[in-house]
Symmetry: C2
Subunit: 310 residues, 2 copies
């Protein structure tokens, strides 16, 4: 069930009310892959610069289900670097600096051995780059993309074209409103389905998430967490947990051309929510690096109780 | 299992993006009682003025489980009247006017026949008035109060005294933060428990609710509603559904001095959420007035599917 993710591997410098870190391992691809790897084998396609530390490659490779063959290190280039600050309201963050580095160059090459990938996650990038990447996986079963406000405003036509080619999209509530002109998350999700995808997941940070699928609507609160050290990567972690679960379930249940079902995704939401609740307990991948399957299963069980209705 | 609610019966003038109404039946007591009545018999204690229309008394009395003996009509007084406006973001409302009328006078009298009430809901009022009302029910089993920003700032000592005497409190997220100085809903809830109550319910409007109880934490999203005509009364309706369910469950399960359990309240959250989702489908009580038990049960079943985790 090869799941592939293309996106950024980055150096993050983050300040939160609980502390500050400099140039720690981050990026959409990183958080997604580490999180998805608890559910399915993951392949990374991303580029870093010659400033990328061997230690950080090792950190990623230590997640036994993550394949880093597609992590391309470029001489003379710099790794994407982001600096941000969170205040008391951790739902809002301030970007302090962005150094694009390799992200301003040609996209990373997909290794030949990865071309048979069945499950594709296109982390946030210019939709033209996402479409180009998508075309490299001719035998794909499910393709899902993330996006951001910049592309909704500045590459709207390309984004619409991308949406007509993929199965699902994951975005936050402001982005869903910006894309559709509609504030209500359910109505916005339905409008997105009219653009092509089978499903849309609207992320609401500490307020949880909503899934709008052709077969129905699901919603979950966030896991009730008190110990939020750093929310960076929560959204990518959520997407990773969800897609990892979906890839495993789809591979188990379908050998033919069946699409992604409402039930699969609904279960995926819960896995994504739970893995993200670990990510925010530390800076970088620190918590995920020590997480065990037993702890994950225990928290999932706890989450079932949180939302149980008799 | 007599459940009693003391609060306002009001005339509301409301503007939303879907229309406008003038002097329709509203008030915390009204929404609470109509909603709770689907789960348990409810007694109202409230005052109105001589401008209160007989038609509106009939509207309330048409809910078969609502007893209006405690609705006191005062000659020479005016019914509390509120005017408000909702914009596209229905989580935020603007108050256009407030005419206190009877709310500026002495509190309503509790009929002698109501003194045996076991389940007490003190809708938003000055905490000294709430304490005085509370003292009129010597055989109470469970007492719960709502409050608002004004009392948290201007009657803080009285509110703290009230909190030390009741079993639970229902308030929104901004109020929970204001009361405790803590932004995280779970941590804020736990701080409220240190003030005395066994539980706190933090309402988050369209983002659902969180229950913090001595025995555990629960959270639910709002029912995924697209058709929000008027959010007025949603919070009181939620509290009514929750308390109606709790009163019925507690009366069924306990004959002695047992308190309110986590499980009872958790199930109550779901009932409150579902009944509130009907309230917002119309202005005033219009939708609740036509609601059937079968429709309620069907939506509860639908809500179970929305949050199901396999």
């Amino acid at each position: 069930m090869p799941l592939i993710v293309t996106g950024s591997v980055a150096y993050d410098s983050v300040q939160t009310p609980h502390g500050a870190v400099e140039r720690v391992l981050g990026g959409s691809c990183t958080y997604f892959a580490a999180s998805a790897s608890f559910f399915a084998p993951v392949r990374i396609v991303a580029a870093v610069g010659d400033d990328f530390d061997h230690e950080h490659q090792t950190t990623l490779a230590r997640f036994p289900n993550v394949c880093v063959v597609g992590l391309e290190q470029r001489e003379g280039s710099r790794t994407f670097s982001w600096g941000g600050k969170y205040h008391e309201d951790m739902n809002v963050r301030e970007t302090l600096f962005t150094e694009l580095g390799v992200l301003a160059e040609a996209p990373p090459l997909t290794p030949q051995a990865y071309r048979d990938s069945r499950y594709i996650f296109l982390a946030n990038n210019h939709p033209s780059v996402q479409m180009d990447l998508l075309s490299q996986f001719p035998t794909r079963a499910i393709a899902v993309a993330d996006t951001m406000d910049l592309w909704i405003s500045d590459a709207n036509a390309e984004l619409k074209e991308l949406l007509s080619q993929i199965d699902g999209v994951v975005l936050n509530d402001q982005e869903a409103t910006q894309l559709t002109g509609v504030r209500n998350a359910i109505t916005a999700g339905k409008k997105i389905l009219e653009m092509g995808p089978t499903f849309a997941v609207v992320k609401k940070g500490e307020h949880g998430c909503v899934l709008v699928h052709r077969e129905g609507v699901a919603a979950l609160p966030a896991f009730p967490a008190e110990r939020v050290i750093d929310p960076t990567g929560a959204g990518d972690s959520f997407a990773g947990g969800m897609m990892g679960h979906v890839a495993r379930r789809h591979a188990d249940e379908h050998f033919g051309g069946e699409g992604v079902s409402f039930d699969m995704l609904r279960s995926g939401l819960a896995r994504g929510t739970v893995i993200a609740s670990f990510t925010i307990e530390s800076f970088s991948l620190d918590r995920l690096a020590t997480l065990t399957d037993a702890e994950l299963e225990e928290r999932l069980q706890e989450f079932r109780k949180v939302v149980a209705i008799d």
